[in-house]
């Protein structure tokens, strides 16, 4: 900007333009052709089911059975089988709900916000991240729905006229949550599906060519007669853009409203205005942690290094670093405001978090969420895929503990010392939560086996071949 003064003095038209040489990162390496990309992505579906897939699928089904067993026991016995009791009536169930919902946010951020900001590196990871979002919402939904206790009355959450004349309390953030999460789930599924249509058509045609009539029919059913005509593409691009526009506020609104579940109450440690931005940052932080946890093994197993490049990993690490640092700032600011606000209850709540009965959870949270991402400052760390993967696991663990610390410590030590308590989960809760990782894995494994894990057309659009100026410097 230093040359601005000269610009005013100089004639309006410059004598010579000297653009700075800033080479863009190559998003598809080794100058791969269009055909190679299609073959590569489709080969993951067309090839024989690998042995590791069956092993993982079996393990995932076994783990998922824990959730089924836990929920069956809860429904047949009553919600008392969970460890909730006064004063901690929200515990693992809401922790797990917020944990899973938060994870979903990276998928929406990648698909919607990065799309509008024209961040081309999103193309390699957006499909899988969106799938992750949907599956995470499925896992999240299990907890509040079954916390209702008599789950067959869960439809009371929605304003459906009924002979009891029961109507929802629209002043309650819990009701806003119902709409926020159901909208989020619906839009995420739509966005994901619209993106899939051209790729499903590719698979339809390839299976037809290979003589597999059944799979050709099934992919064709969902490809909705896609022929790849100009008109199709133009409608598709418009639909995708509109959905990206609709999804963008959802990235911010869903976790804002989830944070209102706490912030709108009066409990010290919950009743803070920093919650919405802090929760959104945390959600994106945990979501990118999960994206890396999922994508890095996929990249190694399927040899996708040309499509998910070091540049992609760098970008994800940097977002994790940025959001993790925001979360760390929020932790510090909570303490500062507790002191600055001079409210003794507020001050106690935070001192109690760090040094009370749940201090162990607090320090796990600080270690995982504040210290872990700082490693991503270093190029050496970002280039060590195994280390990045391990750190991403720490991020996931840390964000689970963040929700645990927020929810449980505040409830266990509220205004009345006479009703203080200490919460421990029951074995049923532990099983139910453990099982959701199985549910998630089952869904994700089915996804990588039967659906294209990357959007082929969008990948092709970011290759060098798609650029009419490729290899030429003049513009």
């Amino acid at each position: 900007m230093g040359h601005l003064d000269e610009t005013f003095a100089a004639p309006a038209i410059l004598q010579e333009v000297k653009p700075a040489v800033l080479p863009r990162a190559v998003l598809v390496q080794n100058n791969r052709s269009f055909g190679w990309i299609t073959d590569k992505v489709c080969s993951l579906i067309e090839g024989k089911t690998p042995a590791w897939w069956w092993v993982c699928f079996g393990v995932a089904c076994f783990v998922a059975s824990f959730t089924v067993a836990g929920i069956t026991y809860l429904v047949s016995t009553g919600v008392g089988v969970w460890g909730h009791a006064n004063p901690v009536n929200w515990a693992w169930d809401i922790v797990n709900f917020v944990f899973w919902i938060g994870i979903g946010h990276a998928g929406t951020l990648i698909s919607a916000i990065l799309c509008l900001l024209r961040q081309k590196w999103r193309t390699s990871i957006n499909r899988a991240a969106e799938a992750m979002t949907i599956f995470a919402v499925v896992c999240a939904g299990i907890f509040p729905v079954f916390h209702v206790g008599r789950v067959w009355f869960a439809w009371y959450l929605f304003p459906i006229p009924n002979s009891n004349v029961i109507w929802q309390n629209f002043r309650s953030p819990l009701e806003w949550d119902v709409f926020a999460v159901s909208t989020y789930g619906t839009v995420s599924v739509l966005f994901w599906y619209v993106g899939l249509i051209p790729d499903l058509a590719v698979l339809r045609d390839r299976f037809y060519g290979a003589g597999n009539k059944l799979r050709s029919f099934l992919y064709g059913l969902f490809a909705l007669g896609w022929r790849g005509s100009n008109r199709h593409w133009s409608n598709y691009e418009m639909a995708y853009l509109i959905l990206a526009g609709i999804s963008t506020p959802l990235v911010l609104s869903v976790h804002t409203i989830v944070s209102f579940d706490f912030a709108v109450s009066l409990l010290p440690g919950w009743h803070t205005t920093i919650f919405p931005p802090y929760f959104v940052a945390g959600a994106i932080f945990s979501g990118f942690g999960m994206v890396m946890t999922l994508m890095l093994p996929l990249r190694a197993i399927y040899h996708l290094e040309d499509l998910i490049t070091q540049y992609h990993i760098d970008c994800m690490c940097k977002i994790t670093l940025a959001t993790g640092t925001i979360v760390g700032y929020a932790y510090a600011m909570e303490f500062f405001i507790a002191w600055y606000g001079a409210n003794p209850n507020e001050g106690f709540a935070f001192i109690n978090r760090a040094f009370g009965h749940y201090a162990w959870a607090y320090w796990i949270m600080i270690t995982c969420n504040v210290i872990t991402p700082q490693f991503f400052w270093f190029r050496k760390v970002r280039e060590n895929t195994t280390l990045v993967w391990v750190l991403s696991i720490f991020v996931n663990v840390g964000m689970w503990f963040e929700r645990f610390v927020i929810i449980v410590t505040s409830l266990a030590r509220d205004f009345l010392p006479s009703s203080w308590g200490y919460y421990s989960p029951s074995i049923v809760e532990i099983f139910t939560f453990f099982g959701t990782f199985g549910v998630f894995s089952v869904l994700f494994l089915l996804f990588i086996r039967f659906l294209p894990i990357m959007p082929m057309a969008e990948l092709k659009a970011v290759t060098a071949q798609a650029d009419p100026h490729a290899g030429h410097d003049h513009h």
Binding site: S163, V165, I166, R204
Partner: protein, 217 residues
């Protein structure tokens, strides 16, 4: 590439949407009509062990409800009479009627007549008869014109919405205290207008609860 789907498949999405809307509409109407207490409860008239006619006793003979249901204005439950109450008259009238065999047996053995319960609020509802009948809410409001029933039938839905209708607008349903057990009497509003109904609600300090814990204690 050749076609996998026939050309008629093009209209399939539209057909599917119309079908789903139609199905949704039919299901909404069906559930609203067939699965709400207006249908599931109203009209329930089980066969009783004794063919006791309320139309004869309460209607033609003009027995007061409280002659048999003695505790209705004194406590939460409207009691079902013991065979002793029946025998007050039936030791002189229709002494040998075969229809009264079950009553006589009950009187001799002390085992109650196995009446089939018709009006049943759920266990999680606290309902007190006395507070209603002592504040101008007539039997007829919930039980219908029992004095005209040969066989007692469920007359009102007794759903939560039914309760709330009255709890929200009690002035439309209250009667003069002397008319509570006269099932043919008009309400105060019918007799003297809405203002009189409101005045009664005010004067008698009728404040029906609308919070959850009013009934679900």
């Amino acid at each position: 590439m050749s076609n996998i789907f026939p050309k008629s498949a093009n209209s399939l999405p539209l057909q599917l949407i119309i079908f789903l809307f139609g199905l949704g509409g039919i299901m909404t109407v069906g559930v609203t009509y067939y699965m709400t207490p207006k249908y599931t409860r109203v009209g329930y008239a089980p066969v009783q062990p004794v063919p006791f006619s309320h139309a004869l006793h309460a209607g033609q003979l003009g027995l007061d409800c409280r002659y048999c249901h003695v505790a209705v204005d004194q406590g939460p439950a409207s009691t079902v009479p013991a065979a002793q109450t029946c025998m007050n008259c039936h030791n002189q009238i229709k002494v040998d009627s075969p229809l009264l065999g079950v009553v006589r047996q009950s009187y001799e053995t002390g085992n109650p007549v196995p009446w089939v319960k018709i009006h049943q609020v759920p266990d999680y509802v606290y309902f007190n008869h006395a507070v209603h009948v002592n504040r101008g809410v007539s039997c007829v409001e919930c039980h219908g014109k029992v004095n005209e029933m040969e066989v007692v039938a469920h007359a009102q839905p007794l759903s939560m919405g039914f309760c709330l209708d009255c709890h929200r607008n009690p002035e439309l349903r209250v009667r003069e205290p002397g008319d509570v057990f006269n099932l043919d009497s008009p309400t105060i509003t019918q007799q003297s207008g809405a203002e009189a109904g409101k005045r009664f609600v005010h004067d008698w300090n009728i404040k029906p609860p609308q919070s959850c814990s009013g009934c679900h204690r």
